[in-house]
């Protein structure tokens, strides 16, 4: 497109200039030709005229010398005329006043000749005394110069062919045409050169403009020309610089926006009123579980595979109303969905859909509700049992033996209630209090103490307690109370959830990278896979019936976890059907 434009443009400029020049040159050539023509003619005529005049004088003198008169009679004239023509080398005629030719040097019978009265030179001679004229003679095929002189009785006319004049005129014309042509050619060359020098920068400018328009923002015009075009080029370059700056800043803003949208963890998408997805971020792809296709530009219901969400988006698009709900999407996670209509000048442009992952929040909520129901259940059970025994005792007050058994059981349950409440208080204290003093504690001694306290219980259940502790010269920095809670509860659990005849192994080792690991393994019933994440929750019980039987409060591991968090220790669990293994990792 731009190529044809350019050529047409160049032709039009040079053509116009060349046409104007040509017309001017031709006009001047023709004008000069005319002027020269006239001058040459005039010069020739002047020369011829002088010659004629001289020769007329000669004839005059000759006649006077010979005949003593200017007016001899016809016969003499006829005889003499040839002589005179021979001497002068001209055609000589004598013409009567009425125009009849009396004698003519070239014609023997002058009577047969035309009347010469109205010949230009004759008429002029009659009027002014002498006259001349130049005519082309078709008979002789040459220009003839005539000169007439008026005398009393006749008019003497002389004629001379003037081929030189025509020849020199032709020559002049030729020279002029050659000259004109050369000038024309030269001027065309000059014009082309000038046009080229004008159009080169213009073409450069056009090239630059079209390249810039097609997106090559690095292009600039390199050489300025010194003309007005140079100024245009300079300002164009300026404009280009500013444009690039503007574009860059816009691109930067756009990128900033994109990065912001991309880095938001919530799934975000904008759907226009044609139901097409216009803006979408990475998180949204994750929400709708689309990994292989690009969704922008597609209809929203083509890619979102959730009936409720699609229905709500459809409604929001139709009614321009916001919508807020929770929904589990196809990737199995629960999202808090908010759909907000985007309006501009009161017309709906589309909707903004924001998906916030609330799966974890939901889980925590569930834990909380579970906690309340579990706690009330745990606290209520002993009271119900105590009440049951007391009622039985009230009915059977006489039977002391039976009563004492019931009372023992009631006390057992009251103890249980107390230990639950104690554990709750302990847990609450660990959770809320921050002032656990740092002190030197010796892990070996702590574990030794716990084993001593729990040894009796283990013996009762026929469980062997083995310990293989690495000697720790210096203690570690920590809080004795918290550390004791951790080891006591872990060893207590290992005993409680063991099988009769089983064993509990307590091992400690120091690894290279300055950490002390205490392993507490049991040979018990193990923890099912699906429960392993939840055992640290308060009152969580893997098997509701069995654990109460084993005497736990349901809070032990919660206390362990919180105490470990406060100390900056780590607890890991591994479990299979042959038993569980808890590791306490202490960073020295």
């Amino acid at each position: 497109m731009d190529l044809t434009n350019k050529t047409v443009f160049r032709y039009s400029i040079s053509l116009r200039i060349i046409t104007a020049f040509s017309i001017l040159i031709i006009f001047f050539t023709v004008f000069i030709l005319f002027v020269f023509n006239g001058l040459v003619k005039e010069a020739h005529i002047k020369v011829a005229l002088d010659e004629m005049r001289d020769k007329t004088h000669f004839v005059e003198n000759y006649l006077i010398a010979k005949y003593n008169t200017l007016d001899p009679d016809k016969k003499l004239l006829l005889e003499e005329i040839k002589q005179m023509a021979g001497i002068t080398g001209l055609r000589v005629s004598f013409i009567a006043k009425d125009g009849k030719v009396i004698a003519d040097s070239d014609v023997n019978t002058p009577q047969s000749m035309d009347n010469h009265k109205y010949r230009v030179e004759v008429m002029q001679a009659e009027k002014e005394g002498s006259g001349h004229s130049m005519r082309y003679s078709h008979t002789l095929e040459t220009d003839m110069f005539y000169y007439a002189q008026n005398y009393d009785n006749y008019i003497l006319r002389m004629a001379k062919p003037l081929p030189e004049m025509r020849a020199s005129l032709i020559r002049i014309r030729q020279i002029m045409i050659y000259l004109g042509a050369i000038i024309l050619l030269l001027s065309i060359i000059i014009v082309l050169f000038i046009v080229a020098s004008i159009t080169r920068p213009i073409n450069e400018t056009i090239n630059f403009a079209s390249q810039f328009a097609s997106g090559d923002y690095t292009k600039r015009i390199s050489n300025y020309s010194n003309s007005e075009i140079g100024m245009i080029q300079r300002s164009l370059n300026n404009m280009a610089d500013q444009l690039v700056e503007k574009i860059n800043s816009l691109v930067f803003e756009q990128n900033k926006l994109n990065i912001t949208i991309e880095s938001i963890a919530d799934g975000i998408t904008v759907i226009n009123k044609e139901k097409k997805i216009v803006i979408v971020n990475k998180a949204f792809y994750k929400c709708i579980d689309v990994t292989r296709i690009k969704v922008s530009g597609l209809l929203f219901f083509e890619v979102i595979r959730n009936r409720t969400l699609n229905l709500r988006i459809e409604q929001s698009l139709a009614q321009a109303k916001p919508s807020h709900f929770e929904e589990e999407l196809i990737n199995g996670r629960t999202y808090d969905v908010s759909i907000n209509p985007i309006s501009e000048e009161r017309t709906l442009q589309g909707v903004l859909v924001v998906l916030r992952d609330v799966t974890e929040k939901k889980k925590i909520e569930k834990i909380k509700t579970d906690l309340v129901s579990n706690m009330s259940h745990e606290l209520k059970t002993p009271v119900t049992i105590i009440k049951g025994y007391l009622e039985t005792i009230a009915l059977n007050l006489n039977n002391t033996e039976q009563c004492s058994g019931y009372i023992r059981k009631a006390i057992e349950n009251a103890d249980r209630q107390t230990s639950i409440i104690n554990d709750i208080i302990k847990l609450n204290m660990i959770e809320t209090s921050n002032d656990f003093a740092n002190e030197k504690i010796i892990i070996d001694d702590l574990i030794e103490g716990c084993v001593n306290i729990l040894g009796q219980k283990a013996q009762l259940r026929d469980i062997q307690l083995n310990k293989k502790l690495e000697a720790m010269g210096e203690g570690v920095v920590g809080n004795k109370f918290l550390a004791e809670e951790i080891f006591f509860n872990l060893i207590d659990n290992a005993i409680n959830y063991n099988l009769p005849g089983g064993e509990v192994n307590i091992e400690s080792s120091i690894s290279n990278n300055n950490q002390l690991t205490v392993k507490i393994n049991d040979t018990g019933i193990g923890i099912p896979k699906e429960s392993i994440d939840r055992i640290f929750e308060r009152f969580y019980r893997v098997d509701k019936g069995r654990s109460r039987e084993s005497g736990g409060t349901g809070l032990g591991l919660s206390i362990v976890k919180h105490a470990a968090t406060l100390l900056g220790w780590k607890i890991t669990v591994r479990s299979d059907s042959k038993g569980s293994s808890f590791r306490v990792i202490i960073y020295l």
Binding site: L298, R305, I330
Partner: protein, 224 residues
């Protein structure tokens, strides 16, 4: 400028995709009901099936009306013809999901038999097949649709594996007979959902390329 035909096609498309969502929801809910033994959820799936049946009739009507009044050509024609068939497949999928839900109710809270073969994973594969088939349709990606046909074989394998395992377990412990039989039926159902998803993928290929892939496969088997 959207033509009348384009408008009609978008309308049908929307309904087909709604039906797809409903079918996927039915599969997920029925498997959830089976895994958590949730009678209410199962009942919801069974109830939802009637809505899907109604939608199927609507889509059929819409397709036929568009074919007659708009006389679409080329890919538009193939799309509508594909929708007519996909429609039936989706309806069958929803029916099968309802059957799985009925099975969940029939178990009456009997503890689930644990198997190595994973029914939820099988269901997830089926859902993914359906989802991918429609993604292939929207992006006109033949290779994506062709993959689904090979995934169907995996589902078939899983079904056979589960069947063998459950059969062996029943021999060891006749008490679990009702649950195991139920699971065999569910696995079989999922295998059939996989088949329908494969059908959908074949229709997608027909829509994109105008070639019935079933004919080609038949030619291949004839050569053998």
């Amino acid at each position: 400028m959207i033509t009348h035909l384009e408008h009609e096609i978008e309308n049908i498309k929307r309904k087909v995709f709604t039906m797809t969502d409903a079918a996927i929801e039915a599969i997920n809910d029925s498997i959830d009901a089976l895994m958590t033994l949730d009678d209410k959820l199962a009942a919801k799936v069974i109830q939802g099936d009637t809505r899907i049946d109604k939608l199927e009739i609507q889509i059929d009507d819409d397709c036929v009306r568009t074919l007659v009044t708009q006389q679409p050509a080329a890919s538009d024609l193939r799309l509508i013809l594909s929708f007519l068939k996909i429609n039936t497949d989706l309806e069958r999928i929803a029916d099968i999901a309802a059957n799985i839900a009925k099975e969940a109710i029939r178990l009456e809270g009997r503890p689930r038999v644990t198997t190595t073969g994973d029914i939820p994973a099988m269901a997830a594969t089926c859902v993914n097949m359906i989802k991918t088939a429609f993604e292939a349709m929207t992006t006109r990606d033949v290779s994506m649709a062709a993959e689904i046909i090979s995934v169907d074989r995996e589902v078939d394998e899983l079904n056979i594996q589960l069947y063998r395992e459950l059969f062996a377990m029943m021999g060891d412990n006749p008490q679990i007979m009702p649950q195991a039989l139920g699971l065999i039926m569910v696995a079989k159902s999922l295998e059939r959902i996989g088949d329908h998803a494969k059908n959908i993928a074949e229709r997608v290929i027909y829509y994109i390329e105008g070639v019935d892939i079933r004919k080609e496969n038949k030619d291949h088997s004839d050569n053998k």
